[in-house]
């Protein structure tokens, strides 16, 4: 068995944050031996403050969990990141607010306070959504809430914030706090981008395509298992990260399981339109210096048939 291990190709994958249900497929693939079947010995690493993208791009990590938004910005700056699979088919993020604030559609944003992390993207997104309902983003007071989490923030000063329903929204359900969600996908097609995605760097694709293929295949299998058995998959994640809150993981997993593949023909599929649309939108809003060559930013070629 020792000898087996030596023959395995050592591969590292760096997460975008702390382990959560976005990553379950990777943990399943590791735990169930799918990676090993493909000849890989995978190590999963948390990036801490280091930032997953730089690590993946520089080759310190072979793969990373990233976002379409990041990869778009990165590629424009010459950072050689490529997305190889979409973890979740549609954007599950949206603007959340405590139910008593009565924020149910973008026009309700007016006169309220939004808590963000200080990126110019936020204002543009708010603007796009509000324009649809003929409201003006200038009426929203945007406050940077830094490292504070959603629940903390809405206790003070803040009326609504941008969250992933699959994690923070589920936590709200668990706490019995009623929240309203305004999903991006409900209002704009351009904003239905892939988040998160699995990424690697160009060098990896050029020099070790077989490893990329093997990795994506095993990951696909892992997410497949998760879709079928959310409860068992959640247990595997909890085993790997026992400090996570069990209830939250279970419930979040249940919520997310049908959304990994959703309406796509296979897990991980990415469409050129989605990449193009979003990059165009960013460019139009002055969020990019240059236009993105969307064809080079992602590839479906490593996904199993």
């Amino acid at each position: 068995k020792e000898k087996d291990k030596k023959d395995l190709e050592k591969v590292t994958v760096v997460l975008d944050w702390t382990p959560n249900t976005n990553h379950t497929g990777l943990y399943v693939a590791k735990d169930k031996g799918y990676f090993k079947e493909e000849g890989l010995d995978v190590e999963i690493i948390m990036p801490g403050e280091a930032g997953a993208d730089q690590l993946t791009a520089s080759g310190k990590a072979d793969f990373g969990v990233s976002y379409q938004e990041s990869i778009t910005q990165a590629r424009v700056q010459g950072v050689p990141l490529v997305s190889v699979a979409a973890v979740i088919q549609h954007n599950t993020s949206g603007f959340a607010s405590p139910a008593e604030k009565n924020i149910t559609s973008p026009k309700d944003f007016a006169g309220k306070t939004y808590g963000g992390w200080g990126s110019p993207v936020e204002k543009s997104v708010l603007d796009s959504l509000m324009k649809i309902e003929k409201a003006n983003v200038a009426d929203v007071s945007i406050v940077n809430m830094g490292d504070a989490d959603f629940f903390t923030a809405v206790k003070r000063d803040i009326d609504f914030a941008w969250i992933y329903y699959g994690w923070t929204g589920v936590e709200a359900e668990l706490r019995g706090e009623k929240i309203n969600m305004v999903y991006l996908t409900d209002y704009s097609e351009k904003l239905d981008y892939y988040t998160p995605v699995l990424a690697t760097n160009e060098k990896m694709i050029k020099n070790n395509p077989e490893i990329v293929k093997a990795f994506v295949k095993a990951a696909s299998k892992g997410y497949g298992y998760t879709i079928e058995n959310p409860n068992e998959a959640a247990d595997i994640l909890l085993k790997a990260a026992p400090d996570l809150d069990e209830q939250l993981v279970k419930k979040s997993q249940e919520w997310l399981a049908p959304r990994y593949q959703d309406d796509a023909s296979r897990w991980g599929e990415q469409k050129l339109d989605v990449w193009k649309n979003y990059a165009d939108w960013m460019f139009e809003n002055g969020l990019l210096d240059k236009k993105l060559e969307a064809e080079k930013a992602f590839t479906n070629e490593f996904l199993p048939e």
Binding site: V79, G118, R156
Partner: protein, 255 residues
Amino acid sequence: MINNLLKGWRPALVLLLLFIIWEMAVKLADIPAWLLPPPTDILKEAIEGWGNFHEHLQSTIKLSLLGFVIGSSVGLLTAIILHLIPMVRESIYPLLILSQNVPIIVLAPLLVIWFGFGLMPKIIVITLVCFFPITVAALDGFRQTPNELKHYMMMAGANRRQLFWKLELPFSLPAIFSGLKISATYSVMGAVISEWLGAKSGIGVYMTLASSSFRTDRVFVAILFIMILSLLLFLLILLAEHFLVRWKRMEAERK
């Protein structure tokens, strides 16, 4: 003073040398700019991006200065209270040391809950970072007041207040100034950290944005200005010391 500045040519030279080596290394090893930009790129970005950057810089300067003033006042006041009431000193001082081991980033959410997103939590963070060196330095200064001077003052009929204002406080000014020097440089760091608690502008904000949009050169511009700012604040305190504790300097020059 001017002497000291002139002496600075040697470290400046070393710094220049470091920059040249850095530039060469980046060029020769063909390191991509997003990984480690060469100094010339950083300089270029600092100049080109100035129009956008100076606003951030301004708000950080304001925040650091305000935080420093409040933080060091709190520090000095704490020292005075601890000094004048020995019982408080014995019960609180060890806890103050302990307080320096609470990671500030962990406190952040609590501060936000209690004080919202305004100026208050930021000032608290800077104060937490700033006050301790001054408290320690001032307490040391008070305690090190020579016994002979105290004895003379007491024999000559000084009361507790006169003893403090006419002897202990002026005597510990040099010590307080060394505390101020440390705090001054910390206050810039503290301001940047506190901006991560949510701010609209500031070097901290600029830096997060830069790093999330892969502008490593801008991250370095931010570092550069943090260092320059720290240095300037340090020099400011040095200048104040130069005028306020003349006697100590003159004494030192004599030796």
